[in-house]
């Protein structure tokens, strides 16, 4: 059984495999050489039979016959694949434990204008869900508040840590907003008339514009020393106006995307489009405008009845062909573990395999502005990487045997494995 092998490898790094819960990895104590693996560097191609050395949490050498520092731990990973850790964007990991149990749900604050809330604040590093997504190679997750209009701010966290501070990669990296609905809902349960729907859509849009007008006024007044007191909402948005944070707009429909583009152009915001189901309809425009897209429906059903059955599957390939800079996400919490498989599915529908890998590693890192630290296997970057028995995007060969985040060995055990091991013993 190949899983047995992974358990053996993992056991060599941590004592906690047999313990009742997973203990965050301790800071890297000694240099580690991963010897003989195939490196999927992302930024420098696939390098078979190549060694990778990391020290103090940072990759220090990639190559063959690397000169080893004293006390280097050498791990032979012959035949295994090494990837940068996978980065899951657009998740609510740690914000909700059990969807139907309200007490465990911290995804969405009340009110439609809540830029002041931050995803990491409610992040539960002891969520049982987190170790299960590590098992599928995810080292980083963007924690995003949910909501109707201005949702709040997201943070990028490592999937291993004692506290959100311990896990923090970047806190409060950008403001998220859900673009108001456009078009008409024709589902049978929609009680509102087309007119009422149009009116509601228009009102939401107006409300959104007003919030940004107010936030800008606050920023301008504050700069001029004319502040009338702190407003936590507008304060949370100042980063948009001084250019220190990005604007993440969740928009699916073509009309939403177009409006979002116009809107952020008008303000000069650094825009990231999230979800973007209809991005294929605007691929050329998005490429020309150099807008980053985090495509969120790699396993989606067609958005509309008449669309091709594989439209959502094929969209990444269309974006790639048009030259759009995009990442792939699989929004959710427990099910984000399927991120690599979803990227693989895009390959079946036309996306280049290396581009698919990039879409879950370096592209998210670039989009979130952390590509100097993570997202690829490069000397000088953090040693956040995974060792898999085979192709990480293929169900048959994904087998994460080792994971390091900033050089710390991560326990790959999880609730599922524990229950599995327990019930293997039941007669």
């Amino acid at each position: 059984m190949k899983k047995l092998m992974s358990a053996v490898l993992a056991a060599s790094f941590t004592l906690s495999a047999a313990a009742h819960d997973m203990v965050p990895g301790e800071p890297q104590q000694q240099p580690v050489l991963l010897q003989g693996g195939t490196l999927y560097t992302i930024t420098d191609g696939i390098q078979p039979q190549t060694d990778l050395l990391f020290e103090n949490g940072v990759i220090t050498a990639i190559g063959k016959n690397i000169e080893l520092p004293e006390n280097t731990r050498v791990i032979n990973i012959d035949g295994r694949h090494v990837y940068p850790g996978l980065i899951a964007m657009d998740t609510t990991l740690g914000l909700v434990e059990i969807g139907a149990v309200r007490a465990t749900d911290d995804q969405e604050e009340v009110g439609s204008i809540t830029p002041e809330v931050s995803g990491h604040t409610a992040y539960n590093p002891d969520s049982e869900v987190i170790p299960t997504v590590r098992f599928n190679g995810i080292t980083h997750a963007q924690i995003v508040p949910q909501g109707d209009l201005i949702r709040g701010r997201s943070s990028l966290l490592q999937t291993d840590g004692w506290t959100f501070e311990d896990a923090a990669e970047v806190l409060d990296m950008g403001v998220h907003l859900s673009w108001p609905r456009v078009g008409l809902n024709t589902a049978w349960w929609e009680r509102r008339s087309p007119e009422e729907q149009r009116k509601a859509n228009a009102e939401a849009l107006k409300k959104l514009h007003q919030a940004f007008t107010d936030a800008q006024a606050y920023y301008v007044a504050k700069l001029a020393g004319e502040s009338q007191g702190t407003d936590v909402r507008w304060e949370a948005m100042t980063g948009l106006f001084d250019g220190s944070s990005k604007l993440y707009i969740h928009a699916q429909d073509k009309r939403q995307i177009e409006q979002a583009l116009d809107f952020s152009r008008e303000y000069g915001f650094d825009l990231v489009l999230m979800g973007a189901r209809d991005a294929w309809r605007l691929a050329a425009e998005l490429a020309a405008a150099e807008v980053d897209v985090v495509y969120g429906a790699p396993y989606g059903l067609p958005t509309r009845h008449d669309e091709a059955y594989d439209q959502a599957y094929a969209t990444p390939a269309i974006l790639a062909q048009a030259g759009v800079n995009f990442a792939i996400s699989y929004p959710g919490y427990w099910d984000i573990r399927n991120l690599a498989f979803a990227a693989g599915n895009a390959v079946a529908y036309g996306l280049d395999q290396q581009q698919a890998l990039a879409a879950i590693t370096i592209k998210p890192a670039q989009i979130m502005g952390v590509d100097d630290k993570i997202g690829s296997l490069e000397v000088g970057k953090q040693a956040s990487l995974i060792v898999s028995g085979g192709d990480v995007m293929n169900h048959l060969s994904q087998d994460i045997e080792l994971m390091f985040i900033d050089g710390s060995a991560v326990d790959l055990n999880n609730r599922h494995n524990q229950l599995y091991q327990k019930y293997r013993q039941k007669p």
Binding site: E97, L396, K426
Partner: protein
């Protein structure tokens, strides 16, 4: 005077007054003077259409005492009759509307509180021997509440109707209708048939009772009620096992429904066929209130041999003017916009009887324009007339007295100028010999160009006497508009500025027609002088209305496909004998995976598997080099292709409801799942009830009718459910009264149900043991479909698929089944199965699991992706199901997750979505593996089918290709082209072609999940699953 042909208020007032003053029924004492005004009338010189297709020119219609005495082809008026010259006019039989609410109480508008904001109501108030369900009003005979209503009659009469069949249109069994004349007389004189047809619909209407909350619940209620009515006919008056048979007024009235028939409202072609299935099994003749979608499944509708009452409210055109509007418009809606007016013509061509109704039309004045539109769309005029006369007369049970012009028939007729089916105009409507005048039979005509002579001045006058009066004078080279124009039957008046007889100012004119072209009148000058004037008409102005009505016959750019949506098929795919060459074949049987292997397929079955086989003649060759072939994927748990509710989430045991009653063959997810390699699915009832509804196994035969996609060879099955959903844990605080509210109660209510079924069986057996004479003395046990279904389970004739999560409830159900001596077939999406796998294996229960779902609710917090492996290792027959229209497209990689998480053998993993579910559905002798003799249901994959990189290229069922990626690429282009053509046509259409009903399209069915539970009749909001992805 208004130019509208509406009845004036005055006319109505007269109508209302006449009966009380002068007309009395035979039993009403006369107050004041007797009215003996003669009723003997002869309408002479008319074109008389006695019935569709029979026309007399220059004939006389003679009536007396409200009846027709003679239709005289020789145009003789009898002596003594009041003669009316109807020359130039056509007399039609009065029109009959067989679907009306006229004269009986209306249904009050219901304000429904938001879903789940009120405590649920499970029982109804019992009164007068009513049925146990508030949607059943069968005991009502609407004649007893009928009263004539001149105001309501007006909208009918204006369109030429003289009689209607009427009922209060509320609920499932709505009571027995009454057919009445629209004449303004007391009911004693106007009832044509006191007991006409029953009325009904699937919609429970104003009933606030929980049951039924779904379409399948309504169908089950109809089935049980009709069965009960049959039972009641022989049982009433006798002794049942627990007392005398109750009095039940609703059942008593339904007794003769096989003779009386029912008028039943449906909402689309699919529901018509569903209603037919249930009513025909009880030999109840049905006339449907049609939906306008009948043309989409014409052959199937024709096969029901039913007649249809058609509303003529064609849908308003979809909005496409805006540059992005096409994003919100489906091809199906565009097609229906184009073809809906042609529905009647299609029915006529297919030989289906239909009538027209005003029902559903917001403005009754749209009736004739829409009927004419139907004629332009190819409807034969005689058929159109039949739809207004003879057909509705038959439906309304008055064919012996109305619907024709013949001696002895009611003097109900319409006098029109011109052909009503192209451009004509109704002048008057006669009801029981009384005339209601809409427009004078004769009136002066002021249209044309005139030479007006005033004070010896010759002036050119032109007048347009159309819907809006207008005109102008021309003299001395100047034109003056006429203003303040009014007219009545005889004269025209207007004001115009001018200088006549050397007097300048505003002149007032009046003209009267003296002859065909001769007119005379007066003009009053600014100084008060009156001048006599004459005018001579040069030529009649062209009749503007006639011109606009002469529109060309309709033609279509849209296709009609099966189903009639994007990606629908023109016809059933052809069956081929096949030779698949050089594939990697995943047999899913003992042979495992075979490289470089050929498959022969004959007559829809796998014939032979081997290497380098010779191609028999006539076989189609497929070179599958580099490709993989697997059996078609089978999904044990699916909710696609279901219409109007996946849960009858009202009562705790609903074993009588059938998913098979509500299969939706038009669901695009059938096609999408085919494109994911799925060929068979078990459509399960939702999980709202401990004992839910009967399941339906289908083959994904895209394009077939609901009945034809059912896989009849599958033995019956049923959905059970356990845990949070059935104890209503997440339904809000109002839903805390239904038994059970705990897992303890789930066990006991199931036990109670099975015990009741046992006792029911005993009663049946005891009854069968009686002699014929003894049987005649007691009531037979009442057939109970709910208990019948439970008995099938106990007899191991119906197999249970139980929604289950946690180990305690799984063990409970195993033990309960053992106690009642049956084997639990499959625990579906059983996420804690791994905890009791040994116990399941020992019992012989199978398991179907989600590959990796968890954490969306408390009872799935211990779910693990190694579940399938652990169960399989312990010897449990294990499959992977979707319970999702998304996952149903990629069950191959869902199965692969057992390789990922726990190292399952790859071929075994594939068996979890092929052979194993086939065994769980007990259809493995037909499908589930590539084995000679089994159905040729298979998929051609581009790569190893358990990898992310595999894509189905073709999906075949029974040797017919239902999905082909190449053809799909062409279909995408065709869909887009057809859409653009329709949008183009729409953009170029005048408003008259775009106007119509705002609710004229089929509502989109939501994505059903097993936890979706709401009352589809009272309009609830969808409740979404814990899963994050659609």
């Amino acid at each position: 005077m208004s130019r509208s042909k509406h009845l004036s208020k005055l006319a109505l007032a007269i109508c209302a007054v006449i009966p009380t003053v002068s007309v009395a029924s035979q039993t009403t004492p006369v107050q004041g003077l007797h009215d003996n005004t003669p009723t003997f009338v002869a309408l002479q010189n008319a074109t008389i259409i006695t019935e569709p297709g029979k026309q007399l020119q220059n004939a006389t219609l003679v009536i007396r005492d409200g009846k027709i005495i003679a239709v005289d082809a020789n145009n003789q008026a009898p002596a003594g009759a009041r003669v009316i010259d109807a020359s130039g006019h056509t007399i039609y039989p009065g029109f009959i509307d067989a679907y009306s609410n006229y004269g009986v109480p209306e249904v009050e508008e219901q304000e429904h509180a938001p879903y789940r904001s009120e405590a649920p109501q499970y029982n109804n108030k019992r009164e007068g021997g009513n049925a146990a369900n508030d949607a059943i009003h069968a005991q009502k005979r609407w004649v007893s509440e009928y009263a004539n209503n001149p105001k309501a009659a007006k909208q009918y009469i204006e369109q030429g109707f003289t009689a209607v069949q009427s009922a209060r249109l509320d609920g499932i069994f709505q009571g027995q209708g009454v057919t009445v004349s629209l004449a303004d007389k007391i009911p004693n004189d106007t009832v044509y048939r006191a007991e006409a047809r029953h009325f009904g619909s699937f919609d429970k209407g104003t009933s606030k009772q929980q049951y039924p909350s779904s379409l399948m619940g309504s169908i089950a209620l109809i089935r049980q009620t009709l069965s009960d009515a049959n039972w009641y006919e022989t049982a009433f008056g006798k002794q049942a096992h627990n007392g005398p048979v109750e009095f039940n007024a609703a059942l008593a009235e339904l007794g003769p429904v096989e003779q009386e028939g029912i008028v039943f409202k449906i909402t689309d072609d699919k529901s018509l066929l569903r209603a037919h299935d249930v009513f025909s099994s009880f030999d109840v003749p049905v006339t449907y209130l049609g939906s306008g979608f009948e043309y989409a499944r014409l052959a199937a509708v024709k096969a029901t041999n039913s007649s249809i009452i058609l509303p003529v409210n064609f849908p308003a055109a979809p909005e496409v003017n805006g540059v992005d509007d096409h994003l919100d418009v489906n091809l199906a809606d565009l097609r229906h916009w184009e073809r809906a007016p042609g529905n009647a013509a299609a029915l006529a061509r297919a030989g289906i009887d239909f009538s027209f109704t005003l029902h559903d039309l917001k403005k009754s004045d749209d009736f004739w324009p829409n009927v004419r539109k139907a004629v332009r769309h190819g409807l034969d005029k005689d058929r159109a007339l039949a739809a207004l006369t003879t057909v509705p007369a038959r439906i309304a049970g008055v064919a012996d007295k109305a619907g024709k012009l013949a001696p002895g028939y009611a003097a109900d007729f319409v006098i029109a100028k011109g052909d009503l089916f192209t451009e004509g105009e109704i002048k008057s409507v006669w009801l029981q010999g009384q005339e209601v005048e809409l427009e004078p039979l004769r009136q002066a005509d002021f249209s044309g160009n005139f030479d007006l002579n005033i004070a010896n001045q010759q002036i050119d006058l032109s007048i347009n006497d159309g819907k809006a009066l207008s005109g102008e004078l021309e003299y001395d080279g100047t034109k003056q508009k006429l203003r303040s124009m009014t007219r009545d039957e005889e004269s025209l008046q207007f004001v115009v500025d001018g200088e006549f007889a050397a007097v300048k100012g505003a002149w007032r004119f009046r003209l009267q027609q003296q002859s065909e072209a001769g007119y005379r009148g007066i003009a009053v000058g600014p100084d008060g002088r009156e001048l006599a004037i004459t005018a001579q008409r040069e030529s009649a102005a062209e009749d503007a209305t006639a011109k606009t009505n002469e529109q060309p016959a309709a033609s279509y750019v849209s296709k009609v496909t099966f189903p009639n949506v994007a990606y629908g098929l023109d016809a059933l795919p052809e069956r081929h004998n096949l030779h698949i060459k050089n594939a990697t074949v995943w047999t899913a049987d003992d042979q495992g995976v075979l490289e470089n292997t050929d498959i022969l397929i004959k007559n829809g079955n796998f014939e032979r598997i081997g290497k380098n086989l010779r191609t028999p003649s006539g076989y189609l060759e497929i070179d599958a080099t580099g490709m993989h072939v697997t059996p078609g994927i089978i999904d044990e748990h699916s909710h696609i292709a279901i219409d109007r509710g996946v849960n009858e989430g009202s009562e705790a045991i609903t074993s009588e409801v059938r998913i098979g009653d509500v299969v939706n063959p038009d669901d695009i997810h059938i096609y999408r799942s085919l494109a994911g390699g799925t060929t068979m699915a078990q459509l399960l009832h939702g999980s709202a009830n401990p004992i839910g509804g009967q399941a339906q196994v289908i083959k994904l035969r895209w394009g077939a009718t609901a009945n034809d996609i059912k896989f009849d060879a599958a033995p019956p099955s049923i959905k059970f459910a356990l845990g949070e959903n059935v104890k209503q844990s997440n339904w809000g605080s109002n839903y805390s009264v239904r038994y059970p509210q705990t897992r303890m109660g789930v066990e006991t209510i199931m036990r109670d149900g099975f015990l009741a079924a046992h006792e029911y069986r005993k009663r049946q057996q005891d009854y069968q043991k009686l002699s014929k004479t003894e049987q005649a003395k007691v009531a037979a046990p009442r057939p109970d479909y709910r208990l019948d279904t439970l008995l099938e389970i106990l007899n191991s004739e119906r197999f249970v698929h139980a929604h289950s999560y946690v180990q305690s409830e799984i063990l409970m159900l195993l033990r309960l089944a053992e106690e009642f001596d049956f084997t639990l077939t499959t625990f579906t999406h059983i996420l804690e199965g791994y905890k009791v796998a040994t116990e399941m294996a020992k019992h012989g229960a199978g398991a179907s699991s989600f590959a990796d779902w968890w954490a969306y609710k408390f009872e799935v917090y211990d779910a693990i992706p190694q579940n399938a492996c652990l169960m399989a290792e312990k010897g449990v027959l294990t499959s992977i199901n979707s319970d999702s229209n998304d996952l149903q497209r990629r069950l191959n990689t869902e199965a692969a997750k057992s390789v990922t998480y726990c190292g399952m053998d790859e071929h075994e993993a594939l068996q979890m979505v092929t052979l194993n579910p086939a065994k769980q559905l007990k259809v493995d002798q037909y499908v589930g593996s590539i084995t000679p003799g089994k159905h040729a249901d298979f998929v051609l994959w581009t790569a190893h089918p358990l990898t992310s990189y595999a894509r189905p290229e073709q999906t075949w069922i029974n040797g017919r290709k239902y999905f082909d990626r190449q053809q799909d690429q062409q279909a995408r282009v065709a869909v887009e082209q057809e859409k653009q053509q329709l949008i183009q046509k729409l953009l170029q259409s005048p408003d008259s072609e775009r106007a119509g009903a705002s609710n004229g399209y089929k509502p989109q069915q939501p994505t059903w999940h097993c936890e979706d539970n709401h009352d589809i009749w009272t309009d609830g909001h969808a409740h979404t699953h814990g899963g994050q992805h659609e």
